[in-house]
C-alpha cells in the first residue's frame, strides 16, 4: 500500500515545516512539496501536525489473567486510535511477566496486532520484591525495561542488587515510587481533603522517599532508573537535580497528574482513584508547567483498564487506575498549547528513547519508533489535528474497559490517522 500524506506540518525534534510525505512498503520514500499521488491513498493533513507516531511506555494490557478488562488485541486497537505505533506492556499481569514463556507469549500476541507491542519484564519473581527475575534471559527476547509496577521494589537491598545486575546488560529499571508501608493502604492523596472526606491518605512523602532512595541507589551503583508517573513537584525537582548531577535517570508523568487534581475525589467517584493518587492543585500545576521545560522525558498513560464491576465498588474498595490511551494526545496538546515540538518529544521521541525503540537501538523484532520524518525511516507516523474539538465518551472507546475519568470532558486535538509500518491503521479518525 502506498500512502501520500498531503498538506501537513511536519514536526521535527526542533523545527516544523510544510511538506508532503510518500510512504511505500513500510518506509518513508519521499518528503517534499507537491509529491506525486500516483497509485497512492491520499491522506489530507491540512491543518494537521505530522510526526512520529506515539509510543506509550506504560500500558497495562491485562493479558494474561484479566482479559475481561483488556486484551492485547483490544489494547492495541485503543492504542492505534490514540495515535500510538508502539506500546510497552507492563508486567503486572496474572501471573506476572517474569519468565521467558510468558514474555514470549505476550510478544507473540502483540505481533498479531496492528502495532508494535514491546514488553517490560518484572524486576523480581512474581513482583514480590524478593528475588530477581531472569533479567538477562528476558533481555535476550528484546526486553529493555524492567519494573514491578503496580508497586515499587520496596526492599532497598533488592533494588540495589537489581540495579547492579541490570547496568552491564544495558537495561533500565522503571520504578513505581511509593513506599507501601508509609502509604499504608491509603486510597487518595493524604491531606486536608482526605481528612475531610474520611478517606485514608497516601502521603506524597511515600512517593518522594522512594524517588530519593532510588536516586541514591543510582549514584551508588551507576545503574539506570526510569521514574514512572511522578506526581509531585518535589519528586520532579529531585529527578531534575539528579539529572544535572549526571545520573542516568529519566522520568514520565501520566496525563491524569497534570490534568486532574485531588479535588476530583470529592465526588467519591472511583474513576478518580489511581496510584500514585491525584495530588493537590499546586502539584498538578507544577507538572503542567514542567511539560514544556524539558524536565519531563515522556508523557505515559498508565492506561489501567478495570471492569465496571470493580470500578462500581466503593471508593476504598475499587481498584486504582484509569484509562489513558485514547485521550492522552488531546490532553497533552491542550496542556502544552500550540507547541508541536514538545508534543512529539513527550509522546513519541522521549518514550521511544527510554524504551530503546528508536532506529539506533538494538531492537528485536520491532520497527523503529520516535524518529524523524525523513526518507528511509520506518513509516510509523501520526497525523494529528491540534484544533479539532470533541468530547470524551466512555461508550465510544476501543478499549474493552470504560473506566475513563474524561467522560463528558471537552477535548482539543484529535488523531486523524495512525500509520504503523506503512499501514494505514486509523484513517479519518476511524479504525481501518
Amino acid at each position: 500500500m502506498n500512502l501520500v500524506i498531503r498538506g501537513g506540518t511536519i514536526v521535527g525534534p526542533d523545527t516544523v515545516f510544510r511538506a508532503d510525505i510518500r510512504i511505500e512498503s513500510g518506509v518513508i520514500v519521499a518528503v517534499g512539496e507537491a509529491l506525486s499521488t500516483a497509485n497512492a491513498t491520499i491522506i489530507d493533513a491540512s491543518g494537521c501536525w505530522v510526526g512520529p507516531a506515539f509510543v506509550d511506555i506504560h500500558t497495562h494490557l491485562r493479558e494474561p489473567g484479566r482479559e475481561a478488562a483488556e486484551t492485547i488485541a483490544s489494547g492495541a486497537l485503543a492504542a492505534a486510535m490514540g495515535g500510538f505505533s508502539a506500546v510497552v506492556a507492563m508486567p503486572n499481569t496474572e501471573p506476572a511477566l517474569d519468565n521467558v514463556p510468558l514474555v514470549s507469549y505476550v510478544l507473540a500476541q502483540g505481533a498479531k496486532t496492528a502495532i508494535d507491542v514491546a514488553v517490560a519484564g518484572a524486576i523480581t519473581l512474581g513482583r514480590k520484591g524478593e528475588s530477581l527475575a531472569p533479567l538477562a534471559e528476558l533481555a535476550a527476547l528484546g526486553v529493555r525495561l524492567f519494573t514491578d509496577d503496580g508497586t515499587g521494589v520496596q526492599n532497598p537491598l533488592v533494588m540495589r542488587r537489581a540495579l547492579e545486575y541490570a547496568a552491564p546488560l544495558g537495561l533500565r529499571l522503571a520504578q513505581h515510587c511509593e513506599d507501601e508501608q508509609l502509604a499504608n493502604g491509603g486510597v487518595m492523596n493524604e491531606g486536608v481533603l482526605s481528612a475531610q472526606l474520611g478517606l485514608a491518605g497516601r502521603s506524597a512523602v511515600a512517593e518522594e522517599l522512594m524517588v530519593q532512595r532510588d536516586i541514591a541507589l543510582v549514584r551508588l551503583t551507576g545503574g539506570r532508573v526510569h521514574f514512572l508517573h511522578l506526581s509531585t513537584a518535589t519528586s520532579l525537582a529531585m529527578v531534575t537535580a539528579a539529572r544535572l548531577e549526571g545520573l542516568d535517570v529519566t522520568c514520565e508523568v501520566a496525563p491524569h497528574h497534570f490534568v486532574l487534581s485531588e479535588e476530583a475525589c470529592r465526588t467519591f467517584d472511583p474513576q478518580f482513584k489511581v496510584h500514585p493518587p491525584l495530588r493537590p492543585e499546586a502539584d498538578r500545576a507544577a507538572l503542567h508547567a514542567a511539560l514544556s521545560t524539558g524536565a519531563i522525558d515522556a508523557v505515559a498513560t498508565d492506561h489501567a483498564p478495570h471492569t465496571p464491576e470493580l470500578k462500581d465498588l466503593a471508593f476504598d474498595e475499587a481498584p486504582a487506575g484509569m484509562l489513558g490511551l485514547e485521550h492522552v494526545a488531546a490532553l497533552t496538546n491542550e496542556a502544552l498549547g500550540a507547541n508541536p515540538v514538545a508534543f512529539f518529544n513527550l509522546l513519541s521521541r522521549g518514550p521511544a528513547r527510554i524504551a530503546q525503540l528508536r532506529a539506533s537501538d538494538a531492537r528485536v523484532g520491532l520497527s523503529a519508533h520516535g524518529g524523524v520524518i525523513m526518507v528511509g525511516e520506518d513509516a510509523n507516523v501520526v497525523v494529528f489535528d491540534p484544533s479539532q474539538t470533541w468530547v470524551g465518551d466512555r461508550n465510544a472507546l476501543h478499549s474493552k474497559a470504560t473506566n475513563t475519568p474524561y467522560h463528558g470532558r471537552p477535548l482539543v486535538g484529535r488523531v486523524r490517522s495512525t500509520i504503523v509500518k506503512g499501514r494505514l491503521v486509523v484513517h479519518e479518525g476511524v479504525l481501518q
Binding site: 491531606g191 474520611g198 470493580l310 462500581d312
Partner: protein, 323 residues
C-alpha cells in the same frame, strides 16, 4: 441547602438554617413520641429501605422505628449478614432493591462516600446516610445537637423549638478520642460549629486527622484543662485494634491519658454534659461508673435518635424533590 426534598449525605457545609429546620421539626416528632399512639400517617404508602452493609442493630432499629412511626413501609435488608459481601458492586445491589419501588434508602456502609455514590445510581430515590466509613454520620450529629439544645432549653426554661441557635452561642464543646477515624466526630464538629458553638478536640497525635486545616476546631494541648473548659464533652468510641501499638501504645495508656476516668470527673463543670454515640467501651474511653453519672446523657441520645430520624425522613421525603 435544606434537606427538604433532598438527600441527607453530609453535614459538612450544611447551613445553620437547614440544621435548625431539622432540629425544630424533630421537636414536633419528639412530642409525637410522648403520645400513647406514637405514630402519624404522614409517610403512608412510602417505602423506605434500610440497607446496612455494616451491622449496627441500634442505628438500624432507630431508623426503622422512625420510618414506621411516620407510617412508611420498611424494607429491611441486613446486607452485612446476607450474601452481599465485600466486593459486590454497590450499583448492582442498589439496582436490585430499586426494582422494589423505593422512595428512600437509608444506607450504612463501611466505605466513605458510599451514600453519595448510591445517590448517583438512583437519582429518583432519597438517600439518607446512616454512616459511611470514616466520613459522616449526619443523623448522629443532628441528634447530638438536638439533645444538647433540649437539655439547655430545659435548664434555661425556654422552648427549644423557638430558641433557634441561641443556646449554642458561646457553648464550649470538647470532642475527645479517635477523631481521625470517626465519622461521628466529623458530623458533630460540622453541626456544633454551624450552630455557633466553639469546638475543641483532644486526642493523641496519631488519632488526629493528618490535617485539620480548614476545620472549625482548635486542638487541646492539655486534656485536663480542656475538660474543665468544656460545657459539653463528646467521647468517641476507640476501636480496640487502634490500641495495639499501631496508633496508641496500649488501651490502658489511652485511658490514662485521654479517658474520662472517675478521677477526672471532678475536673468537669458541675453541669457539664457528657455524651457518647455508643456503643461504649467501658473502661477504655469512659469509666463504667462515669457512664452512669447524671451528667451522662447517653441513653437520652439513643432515645432522641427516633424523633431526629423521623424529622430527617419526613423533610427529605414529604417534600417533592427539586429537580
Amino acid at each position: 441547602m435544606s434537606i427538604r426534598g433532598a438527600n441527607l449525605l453530609t453535614l459538612d457545609g450544611m447551613s445553620r438554617e437547614a440544621i435548625l429546620d431539622v432540629l425544630d421539626t424533630a421537636e414536633s416528632f419528639f412530642e409525637v413520641n410522648q403520645r400513647t399512639i406514637k405514630k402519624v400517617p404522614v409517610l403512608k404508602g412510602r417505602v423506605v429501605a434500610s440497607l446496612f452493609f455494616e451491622e449496627s442493630t441500634r442505628t438500624r432499629l432507630s431508623f426503622e422505628t422512625a420510618a414506621k412511626r411516620l407510617g412508611a413501609d420498611v424494607v429491611s435488608l441486613a446486607v452485612a449478614s446476607s450474601s452481599v459481601k465485600k466486593g459486590e458492586s454497590l450499583r448492582d445491589t442498589i439496582s436490585t432493591i430499586d426494582a422494589l419501588g423505593l422512595d428512600a434508602v437509608v444506607l450504612r456502609h463501611r466505605s466513605s462516600g458510599a451514600a453519595l455514590q448510591v445517590s448517583r445510581y438512583v437519582p429518583h430515590v432519597r438517600v439518607v446516610n446512616a454512616g459511611d466509613g470514616q466520613h459522616q454520620h449526619p443523623t448522629q450529629g443532628l441528634l447530638d445537637a438536638f439533645t444538647v439544645r433540649q437539655i439547655l432549653a430545659e435548664r434555661h426554661g425556654v422552648v427549644a423549638s423557638v430558641s433557634g441557635s441561641s443556646l449554642f452561642e458561646g457553648l464550649r464543646v470538647l470532642i475527645v478520642g479517635d477523631i481521625r477515624h470517626s465519622r461521628v466526630a466529623r458530623s458533630d464538629i460540622a453541626a456544633y460549629s454551624a450552630l455557633g458553638a466553639e469546638v475543641k478536640v483532644a486526642a493523641p497525635g496519631t488519632l488526629l486527622p493528618p490535617s485539620l486545616e480548614g476545620w472549625p476546631v482548635t486542638v487541646s494541648s492539655d486534656f485536663e484543662e480542656a475538660l474543665a473548659w468544656a460545657d459539653v464533652v463528646g467521647l468517641l468510641r476507640l476501636q480496640h485494634e487502634r490500641g495495639t501499638g499501631s496508633y496508641v501504645p496500649s488501651l490502658s495508656e489511652f485511658t490514662s491519658t485521654f479517658g474520662l476516668t472517675a478521677t477526672r470527673v471532678p475536673l468537669l463543670k458541675p453541669d457539664a454534659i457528657v455524651m457518647h454515640p455508643g456503643p461504649m467501651n467501658r473502661g477504655v474511653e469512659i469509666d463504667s461508673d462515669v457512664a452512669d453519672l447524671p451528667q451522662s446523657v447517653i441513653t437520652r441520645q439513643v432515645a432522641n435518635g427516633v424523633p431526629v430520624r423521623m424529622a430527617v425522613l419526613y423533610l427529605s421525603l414529604a417534600e417533592k424533590k427539586e429537580l
